[in-house]
C-alpha cells in the first residue's frame, strides 16, 4: 500500500533554487522559440490558418512529459505545440505540419490542432477528449501494466459537460486518467470569473477525484512533485486532476488579445523566462542563443521542402 499523499497542500516550486539541467532548459527554450517563430511566420504571411501559442506555459509539458511512458496516451488540445515538442522533440515535423510541407507529422492534413503520432492525439474541439481518455484508460487498466491516459485542458474547457461525465465515469470505474489543467485564467477573451462558478478543485472533489494544485514554474521541481502522484495513479487506477496555475503571455491565437498592455506586461514580468534569465543568466543566454539559431535553421530547411502530399487517405 502506498500512503495517500496530502493532496490539498499546494505544490510550489517557488523555493527551489537549483539551476535546471541543460536538457530541461533546452526544451523550454526550444518551445519558446518555436512559438515566437510561428507568430513571426504568421505575420509575414508565410503561414496560413491559425495557431495558439503556449508562450508562458512551456514549463508544464516540460514538467509532465518526461514522467510519461511510451504506452501512455496523451490527449492534447488547440494549444498543443509545447505538448508535442516535449513528447517528441520534433520541431521539424511540427513546423512542416503547420507549413504544409513534406515530413509533417500528419502530412499537413491535421495542421496545428489536429496531430496524431503513436499514442499522442490532439483535437480542436474542447472537452471532447476527456471521455475518450476514460475509454483508453479502461483498456490500459485491463492490461495491468500501469499505463495512464493524460488529457491536457484549459480552465475554459471546464464549461463542457463532457468533462463532468468523464470525471464521473473515471471515478466510478477507476480509470487511470490524469487530467492536466493549464489554468491561465482566461479562455480566448473570457476571464475565469465570467465563465466558472466555484473552482476546479471543488469540481474534481465533488466526484471523489483526487486533486493536486501546482504553482510555480520550475519544471524540474514540479516534475519531482508530480512523479509519486503519477506512480500512485499507475498503481491504484484512481483518477487525478492536476491544476497548474499559469499564464498566457500572447494572444489567444494570432492577434486577438483583449487584455490591456499593462495586464500583459504584468504577466511577462513574472514569466518563467524572465525569472530564469535573472537567476541563471549565463547558461540562459547560451542556451537561448542556441535555440534561436536552431529554430532559424529549422525554418530555412522546412521552407525549402516541397508541399506535402496526402497519400494515405
Amino acid at each position: 500500500m502506498i500512503p495517500p499523499a496530502n493532496l490539498s497542500h499546494p505544490v510550489s516550486s517557488a523555493n527551489a533554487s537549483a539551476c535546471p539541467s541543460r536538457e530541461t532548459l533546452e526544451l523550454l527554450l526550444l518551445i519558446r522559440h518555436f512559438e515566437e517563430t510561428l507568430l513571426r511566420l504568421f505575420q509575414s504571411g508565410k503561414i496560413h490558418g491559425t495557431t495558439h501559442t503556449c508562450l508562458g506555459q512551456e514549463y508544464i509539458p516540460v514538467a509532465v512529459m518526461p514522467l510519461l511512458r511510451d504506452d501512455d496516451f496523451v490527449f492534447s488540445n488547440h494549444r498543443g505545440h509545447g505538448h508535442y515538442l516535449a513528447r517528441f522533440r520534433d520541431p521539424e515535423g511540427l513546423l512542416a505540419e503547420i507549413m504544409g510541407r513534406e515530413g509533417g507529422t500528419c502530412d499537413g492534413v491535421g495542421g496545428s490542432q489536429h496531430l496524431r503520432r503513436d499514442r499522442y492525439i490532439s483535437t480542436g474541439v474542447q472537452g471532447e477528449s476527456l471521455p475518450v481518455a476514460v475509454g483508453a484508460a479502461l483498456q490500459l487498466r485491463r492490461k495491468k501494466r500501469g499505463g495512464l491516459a493524460v488529457p491536457f485542458i484549459g480552465d475554459g474547457t471546464w464549461g463542457q459537460g463532457a468533462v463532468y461525465e468523464a470525471l464521473n465515469m473515471a471515478a466510478l470505474w477507476n480509470a487511470p486518467v490524469v487530467v492536466i489543467v493549464e489554468n491561465n485564467g482566461i479562455a480566448q477573451t473570457t476571464v475565469r470569473s465570467a465563465n466558472m462558478a466555484g473552482n476546479i478543485e471543488g469540481r474534481a472533489r465533488a466526484f471523489g477525484v483526487e486533486y493536486l494544485r501546482c504553482t510555480g514554474h520550475e519544471a524540474e521541481a514540479l516534475q519531482a512533485r508530480l512523479a509519486p502522484e503519477l506512480d500512485r495513479v499507475r498503481q491504484s487506477g484512481a483518477p487525478l486532476v492536476v491544476e497548474f496555475e499559469t499564464r498566457r503571455l500572447a494572444a489567444h491565437s494570432k492577434g486577438d488579445d483583449t487584455r490591456t498592455p499593462e495586464e500583459v506586461a504584468a504577466l511577462r514580468a513574472i514569466d518563467w523566462g524572465a525569472d530564469y534569465q535573472a537567476r541563471w543568466p549565463e547558461i540562459f543566454a547560451e542556451v537561448d542563443a542556441r535555440m534561436r539559431d536552431r529554430m532559424a535553421a529549422i525554418v530555412e530547411e522546412v521552407e525549402s521542402r516541397a508541399l506535402s502530399s496526402w497519400s494515405n487517405r
Binding site: G111, G161, A187, R313
Partner: protein, 348 residues
C-alpha cells in the same frame, strides 16, 4: 456601430449582419443574444456581435464553452416567451448542441399534440478556405436537413439581413442561419447591377430568392448556396467571357424547406440545372433540391450536383483547395457538359 436602417454603398456583409442584429435587439426586448466571447470590445470571433453588449448589456450573455448548455438556455428563454439568438463560434461545434436543437427546439413545436411556438435563431459560421483544419471548417448544413419545424437559411452577399432576420425570428419555429466565414469581409450587394455583366433581381416578394443574370436566355442555371455564390459568380463570368456560355445563378436564402415555386418560370427555359454548394459529397443539400425539382417537374433532365470532395477538410492550403469546390471546377464541369450537349458552333 451605426443603426440608421440605411445601406451604405461600401457596407461589408459582416456590417450588414451586425446592423440586423442591432435592429433586432433594439426593436424588441424579448430578443436575447447568447454566445462565446461575444462581449465588447471583442464582439465574437467574427465580430458579428460588435456593439451589442454595450447597448443591451442585460440581454447579451457571453457564455462558458458550453454549446449544449447555452442552446438549452436559449430554449428555456424561448419557452418563457422570449426570442433568443444564439451564436455558435465555429459551425463544427453545433454538433455539441444537436440534442437541444433537434430533440427540444424543433420537436417541441409539435410533439405535445398542439402547435407551440418556439422562436429561436441559431447563427452558425461555416466553411473552409482559411486553413483551420477539420474541426473548424466543415459545412455542416446537410446534417440538419429534413427536420420537421427546423428551417435552414444561408447568408449571401445578395440578401439583406436587416429585412430577413426579423422574419426568421418571427416564425413560430426555430431556424439556423449558416454563414460562410469567407463572406464576412466581402461587400454587401443587392438588387441591381452587381458588376459590368450581371444584374440581381429577386424572384419573390419577400426577397428570399435572388436571381443573377445577364439576359433572359441562359444555357444553364446554377442554384447556389449563399456561401458558394462568389465561386459561382466568378465561374459564370468566366463561362460567358471564355466559353460563350450564359449561366444564371439563383441564390435561395432559405435552404430548407426548399421552395421551388418561385423558380418555375426559370426552370422551364434553362436546359441544364446545377446545384452548387461547399458541403462535401454524400447526403447533400443539392440532393434534396434535386429531389424537390424532380417531384415538381418529373420530365426535366436530372439536376446535376457540384459540391466538395468526399473528405474531411484538411488544414494545409494546397490540400484544402483540392477538397473544396473552386470556380474552375464549376467552369470545367459546366463547359464540358454543355459542349457535349451543344457543340460550340451552335452558339455562334
Amino acid at each position: 456601430m451605426t443603426n440608421t436602417g440605411e445601406r451604405s454603398t461600401s457596407e461589408r456583409i459582416i456590417e450588414n449582419l451586425n446592423r440586423a442584429l442591432h435592429a433586432l435587439l433594439d426593436g424588441d426586448d424579448r430578443v436575447f443574444f447568447l454566445g462565446e466571447d461575444v462581449l465588447d470590445p471583442y464582439g465574437g470571433a467574427f465580430k458579428a456581435a460588435r456593439g451589442l453588449s454595450t447597448k443591451y448589456p442585460d440581454r447579451v450573455l457571453t457564455t462558458p464553452i458550453s454549446e449544449l448548455g447555452f442552446v438549452g438556455v436559449a430554449n428555456g428563454l424561448s419557452l418563457a416567451g422570449q426570442r433568443p439568438i444564439v451564436e455558435i463560434m465555429f459551425g463544427d461545434f453545433i454538433f455539441l448542441a444537436f440534442d437541444q436543437i433537434i430533440n427540444f427546439a424543433a420537436k417541441s413545436v409539435s410533439m405535445y399534440g398542439r402547435r407551440v411556438p418556439h422562436h429561436l435563431l441559431i447563427r452558425c459560421p461555416v466553411g473552409g478556405h482559411r486553413g483551420y483544419g477539420a474541426t473548424h471548417s466543415q459545412s455542416v448544413q446537410k446534417h440538419f436537413l429534413g427536420v420537421p419545424d427546423l428551417d435552414l437559411f444561408e447568408l449571401s452577399p445578395l440578401h439583406d439581413n436587416t429585412a430577413l432576420l426579423p422574419r426568421i425570428l418571427a416564425r413560430d419555429h426555430p431556424g439556423i442561419l449558416f454563414e460562410s466565414k469567407v463572406l464576412y469581409a466581402q461587400p454587401q450587394l443587392g438588387e441591381g447591377a452587381i458588376d459590368d455583366l450581371f444584374t440581381c433581381e429577386f424572384l419573390d416578394e419577400e426577397r428570399m430568392t435572388a436571381h443573377v443574370f445577364v439576359d433572359r436566355d441562359p444555357q444553364a442555371i446554377l442554384i447556389a448556396s449563399g456561401g458558394s455564390f462568389p465561386a459561382c459568380w466568378q465561374a459564370a463570368r468566366q463561362l460567358l467571357l471564355e466559353h460563350e456560355i450564359e449561366v444564371q445563378i439563383v441564390v435561395p436564402f432559405q435552404l430548407y424547406p426548399f421552395e421551388v415555386q418561385s423558380l418555375a418560370p426559370l426552370l422551364s427555359t434553362a436546359p441544364a440545372l446545377y446545384v452548387v454548394e461547399e458541403g462535401t459529397a454524400g447526403g447533400t443539400w443539392g440532393a434534396e433540391v434535386a429531389a424537390v425539382v424532380a417531384e415538381a417537374w418529373p420530365h426535366r433532365a436530372p439536376v446535376r450536383l457540384i459540391h466538395s470532395a468526399d473528405s474531411i477538410i484538411p488544414s494545409a492550403r494546397h490540400l484544402e483547395r483540392d477538397v473544396l469546390v473552386q470556380p474552375e471546377n464549376i467552369v470545367k464541369r459546366v463547359s464540358t457538359d454543355l459542349h457535349a450537349i451543344h457543340p460550340r458552333s451552335h452558339h455562334q
